[in-house]
C-alpha cells in the first residue's frame, strides 16, 4: 500500500483520509497509521501546492545556477551546499555529476534580485570557483504536471 499511497498524495496532497481509504481498499485507521509513519520517517517531507505564478499578477523570476566549488576536507560538498541552501530564496539545491558541482534553483521577484544574490552572496563565498546563471523563460512541465495544457476529452461520448 505504501507506494500506492505515496503516488496518490504526491499527485494530490489535499486528498482526505476517507477517500484514500476507499481508493486503496483499506480502512481509514490503517491509512492514518501509515501516513503518520511516513511523516515520522521523513519520507513525507511536506504537503505543498503547485502554483502557476504566471497566471497571477505576482512577478516571479526563476533561475538555474550552475556552481563550481572547491570541496572541503572532511566535509566534501555538504558544508558549502548548506551555506547556500540556507538562503530562503534558494528553492532547490542539488549536487550534480559532470561539468559542475551544485545546481541551485532560485526564485526571486526580479532579475535584479537574482543578479544581487549571485554577485553578493554566492560568488563571494570562498569555496565558490565560478557560477553560470540561466534564467527560465517558460515553464512547460513542473513536478510532473504539464502547466499550460488543459486536456479536453476528445473521445466519442459513447463507444462499445
Amino acid at each position: 500500500m505504501r507506494e500506492e499511497l505515496l503516488t496518490l498524495i504526491e499527485k494530490n496532497s489535499k486528498i482526505g483520509l476517507k477517500e484514500l481509504s476507499v481508493l486503496l481498499g483499506v480502512d481509514e485507521a490503517s491509512v492514518l497509521q501509515e501516513l503518520e509513519a511516513l511523516e515520522k520517517e521523513g519520507v513525507i517531507c511536506g504537503y505543498h501546492t503547485l502554483i502557476d505564478w504566471e497566471k497571477t499578477s505576482i512577478e516571479k523570476v526563476t533561475a538555474l545556477i550552475e556552481v563550481r566549488v572547491t570541496p572541503q576536507r572532511g566535509q566534501g560538498f555538504d558544508s558549502i551546499a548548506e551555506r547556500i541552501y540556507n538562503y530562503p530564496e534558494v528553492r532547490a539545491a542539488y549536487l550534480i555529476s559532470g561539468g559542475y558541482d551544485l545546481l541551485i534553483i532560485l526564485e526571486e521577484k526580479s532579475l535584479r534580485e537574482i543578479a544581487n544574490f549571485v554577485s553578493d552572496k554566492l560568488s563571494t563565498l570562498d569555496s565558490v570557483l565560478s557560477t553560470a546563471t540561466h534564467f527560465v523563460l517558460k515553464k512547460y512541465k513542473y513536478h510532473g504536471t504539464i502547466i499550460s495544457k488543459k486536456h479536453d476529452d476528445e473521445r466519442e461520448i459513447v463507444t462499445p
Binding site: E4, T7, L8, E19, V22, L23, L24, G25, D153, R155, E156, I157, V158, T159, P160
Partner: protein, 391 residues
C-alpha cells in the same frame, strides 16, 4: 436503383449503443460514463516509436500476418504471461483490432448452419459476425447470481451436434466479470468432451484486479482448440491505432490469414512498429494504468454502496454493472431519464444482450473528478426515483 441489397445485412440490427449515441450527441454538457476505451493517452514512448517509424519512411505494407518482430514480441509476451508457446512463424496473426480477429476467426471455422455459442451480456459484435458468416448464434443468458460467469451446466445445455465454437469473453465487457482458473477448468472439461472450439476474447486480460488473468488456452489440451484474441487497445490505451492479434493452431491461422489477406492485406504499419515498443517496454505503463483503474473501481463500488444500489464486485475490465430493477423501469428508460434529468450518459445493459436488461454499464475509464461529479448526480437521481416511488 431497384435491385435489393443483401437481405442478410439488412436483417442485422444496428448496435444498441449506436441508438443511445444519437440521443446523447444532441445534448450539451453531458458527463459521460459511456465509453469503452481508456482515458489515458497512449504512453509517450510508444507514440514516439510510431512517429519514428513514420520519419524513417516505414510506410509500406508488412507481411500479411504482420511484422516478424511484432509476432516475435507477441509470442514472448504470451510465453511470459500465460506460459503458452506460440510459434511466431505460423501461429500468430496481427489484425486490425481484436474485432477483426473475431470476424475472421469465426469465418475461418464455421460452415453454414454451424452454431456459435455466445454468452451474454457481452461485446456487441459476436452475434452479427456469426450471422454474417452464415452461422447460427446460440445465446446463453448469463445470470447475475453467478456474477455473470459462464457455468459448465449452462454450456452443456447450449451444446448441440451443430455446435462449433464457444465465444468466451472474459474479463467481460459490459459486466466486468472475470473467470478464474477453477471456473475455466470446468468449462474446458466440457469443451474437450464435446470437441468444440473456443474463441477466447482476452482483450481486457491486463485489466484484472484480483489475480493475474488466466487464459483458457493455457489449460491442458486446450491450446489445440482455442483461438486466443488479444490486442493493444485496452492494455496500452491504443484504441485508435487499430491493432490486435489472434493466436491459434497453425491450421486455423492459415485459413484466417487468407481472409485477412484478401480483405485487409495487413494491419497498419505505423501501429505495428509502435506495438513492438509497447510489448518490449510497456509493462510499467500497464501497471500504472491498472492501479489507477482499480482505485476508480473501488470508488464507484463505494459510491453504489452509499446510495444502496446493488452491484456485484467486478474484478476485470473497466466497467461496473449495477442493477436498477428496483425502479421498475427498463434499462433504456432509466438511462434515458438519467441522461435527460441529470445529464449523465451510461449505457443500458440490454445493449449487450437481453440478459443485460435491468442493468446499466458504467465505465470507469474517466478521471476521478469526473466520476465524483457523475456519482453525485446519479445519487441524486436514485434518491428522486425512490421518492417518486414511495408516493
Amino acid at each position: 436503383m431497384t435491385k435489393e441489397l443483401s437481405k442478410k445485412v439488412i436483417a442485422i440490427k444496428p448496435s444498441g449503443i449506436r441508438k443511445f449515441f444519437d440521443l446523447v450527441s444532441e445534448m450539451q454538457d453531458v458527463i459521460s460514463l459511456g465509453v469503452g476505451e481508456p482515458d489515458f493517452d497512449t504512453p509517450w514512448h510508444i507514440r514516439d516509436e510510431g512517429i519514428y517509424a513514420l520519419e524513417k519512411g516505414r510506410t509500406f505494407y508488412t507481411s500479411n500476418s504482420g511484422l516478424k518482430a511484432l509476432r516475435q514480441e507477441i509470442s514472448n509476451y504470451i510465453k511470459r504471461t500465460q506460459n503458452i508457446l506460440y510459434n511466431p512463424d505460423n501461429e500468430i496473426i496481427v489484425t486490425v483490432g481484436g474485432s477483426e480477429a473475431i470476424d475472421i476467426g469465426i469465418r475461418a471455422l464455421v460452415n453454414d448452419g454451424d452454431e456459435v455459442i455466445i454468452p451474454q451480456p457481452s461485446y456487441v459484435s459476436y452475434e452479427p459476425c456469426a450471422l454474417l458468416a452464415n452461422a447460427k448464434p446460440v445465446i446463453i443468458n448469463l445470470k447475475a447470481e453467478n456474477e455473470f460467469r459462464l457455468t459448465s451446466d449452462e454450456l452443456l445445455n447450449a451444446i448441440t451436434e451443430k455446435t462449433k465454437i464457444l465465444i468466451l469473453p472474459f474479463p467481460n465487457n459490459p459486466t466486468g466479470s472475470i473467470m478464474d482458473k477453477d471456473d475455466l477448468e470446468k468449462i474446458a472439461k466440457v469443451i474437450i468432451e464435446k470437441d468444440i472450439y473456443v474463441m477466447s476474447d482476452e482483450i481486457y486480460s491486463e485489466l484484472s484486479y484480483k489475480d493475474k488473468h488466466v487464459s483458457i488456452a493455457s489449460l491442458p489440451q486446450m491450446k489445440e482448440r482455442t483461438i486466443l484474441i488479444n490486442g493493444f487497445s485496452k492494455a496500452y490505451a491504443m484504441t485508435g491505432w487499430r491493432l490486435g492479434y489472434a493466436c491459434a493452431p497453425k491450421e486455423i491461422i492459415k485459413q484466417m490469414t487468407k481472409i485477412h489477406q484478401y480483405a485487409i492485406m495487413c494491419a497498419p504499419t505505423t501501429s505495428q512498429y509502435a506495438a513492438v515498443e509497447a510489448l518490449k517496454n510497456g509493462d510499467n505503463d500497464v501497471a500504472m494504468m491498472r492501479q489507477s483503474y482499480n482505485q476508480r473501481r473501488r470508488f464507484l463500488l463505494n459510491a453504489f454502496k452509499e446510495m444502496n444500489l446493488p452491484c456485484f464486485e467486478p474484478f476485470g475490465a473497466f466497467y461496473v454493472f449495477p442493477c436498477i430493477k428496483e425502479f421498475g423501469m427498463t434499462s433504456e428508460e432509466f438511462a434515458t431519464r438519467l441522461l435527460q434529468e441529470e445529464k449523465v450518459a451510461a449505457i443500458p445493459g440490454n445493449a449487450f444482450g437481453d440478459s443485460g436488461e435491468g442493468y446499466l454499464r458504467i465505465s470507469y475509464a474517466y478521471s476521478l473528478d469526473n466520476l465524483k461529479k457523475a456519482m453525485e448526480r446519479l445519487g441524486r437521481f436514485v434518491k428522486k426515483l425512490r421518492e417518486e416511488k414511495s408516493k
